[in-house]
Symmetry: C2
Subunit: 280 residues, 2 copies
């Protein structure tokens, strides 16, 4: 599959690029960014997928998370996809921060008309990694996934659903029980319909109890996050992991909120966590 | 003078804030950001002013340059002002990337109607530092200035014109001889009129020959910068510094372009340069 180079710039000795591809999964163009570390010149390197939160494009984390410096040091290739297809023309897909464009929830919608375009799980898990392996010096056998907020939900659920694809996983302020909170309930109803059994397939708290992830899950959560008490509720996941025997490192940080100033403050620890697993 | 808090977020143990003030110099509201390092809780710390380039607001460098991590380590307070007043209503002040809003050129316009609002030198050198000293734990006696492109021109000219205000200076891809190149010629004509003696007062190559800066000037320049040969021409400044006996560390970087991927790759060296001077 061909990709279109939107831009490429030297950064920390590697290359920060913006790209576009025609996605079969999402039946239209999809955008993503790739940071190639300097070590990529000498062979394939571990690859990390960063999944972003509600309203984000591929640009937010790329410019705000501050991953490139550490990725260059550790030799990690970083991929940041957009959070949904764009310009879908689907009624209700624009202008709603919780549903539609910018709110793909990292799953394949099964309800029409969403099911024709909003297939972010297939895109992120299968199609995009294929393109990355074809065009970039990434080793698909050494892949990890991390994400923020809705993207934290994405990282946890995709890693738990596809353990053969990801060897490491971490999240910032993730939505861990979307079936039970505002950020999730509406999206699941819209994308998956009313069958709650289908919802459980995309709820990290449910998934981890069925099959834990082989390795420690790292989660950072700010204690000044305005969404902490009503929609994030990390205790739900803490309890589910305890029941499941899942190794979890959940760190709570006094004074930090939900934004990228929080993510950037701790991103280095996440990249080192992934590199530690993927180095082998 | 009061300031309005737009937002404040914990970041690397300190606080990243966005603020607004009523500027007397610019006869209207002006925006700026401040990063307060954790050391600011214990007393006044050195302060660095980052001056941005054409089209930038206070947001670009704040989110893209990646200064906070190193500032937190070194105990530097970082101030990023907007590059001009906004919503001035002056004919021709919007929609032109080289003149007017987003293109203040870090000088006081003397030609009407620009002279009523575009007084970025007085704002940056006098008014803003007064506000910073009043509201933040900054030590005005330990101030440095750095900038990028048009802001590199700003950093060099303000440091050379006001050596009593700044003890350290550095720049990324600065416009060093605005009197002689497209990025400058038009702005100087617009803001300062046709008297070339007035232009020389805002041209780093001219200023350094009259009175060198007491300390090494650090400049980074990318060799894949599309503006390198025709508008930046660092050789002009290199030659002027040689004539003036000015200590200059000009570093040329293969493959880097004009953008923030370049700035962020080397910002740590700049902050360490400033901290080394300002620590005393």
């Amino acid at each position: 599959m061909t990709i279109e180079i939107v831009s490429e710039s030297r950064c920390f000795g590697g290359v920060q690029g913006y790209y576009r591809m025609q996605s079969t999964a999402c039946a239209g163009p999809m955008r993503f960014t790739v940071y190639q570390p300097p070590q990529g010149k000498d062979g394939r390197v571990p690859v990390l997928y960063y999944l972003s939160g509600l309203t984000c494009t591929e640009d937010n984390a790329t410019i705000k998370a501050g991953m490139q410096r550490v990725a260059a040091e550790l030799g990690l290739l970083i991929v940041v996809p957009d959070t949904s297809p764009r310009d879908t023309g689907i009624p209700g897909a624009t202008g709603d921060s919780d549903i539609g464009e910018g709110a793909g929830f990292w799953l394949d919608a099964t309800v029409a008309p969403w099911s024709s375009r909003f297939r972010m799980e297939t895109f992120a898990v299968e199609e995009l990694p294929g393109v990355i392996a074809e065009h970039f010096p990434a080793d698909p056998a050494r892949a990890g996934v991390l994400g923020h907020s809705m993207g934290g939900h994405g990282a946890l659920t995709l890693a738990l659903r596809h353990p053969e694809r990801y060897r490491s996983v971490s999240a910032f302020a993730p939505i861990v029980s979307p079936s039970r909170v505002r950020w999730g309930d509406r999206a699941f109803r819209t994308y998956l319909g009313e069958d709650r059994a289908a919802w459980a397939e995309h709820d990290a708290c449910e998934l981890v109890k069925r099959r834990p992830f082989a390795g420690t899950i790292l989660i950072d959560q700010g204690l000044a996050d305005p969404f902490l008490g009503e929609t994030l509720i990390p205790e739900h996941f803490e309890q589910a992991c305890a029941e499941a025997g899942q190794a979890l490192q959940l760190r709570r940080h006094e004074g930090y909120d939900h934004g990228y100033w929080f993510v950037s403050s701790f991103i280095e620890d996440h990249l080192r966590h992934h590199a530690g697993v993927l180095a082998g």
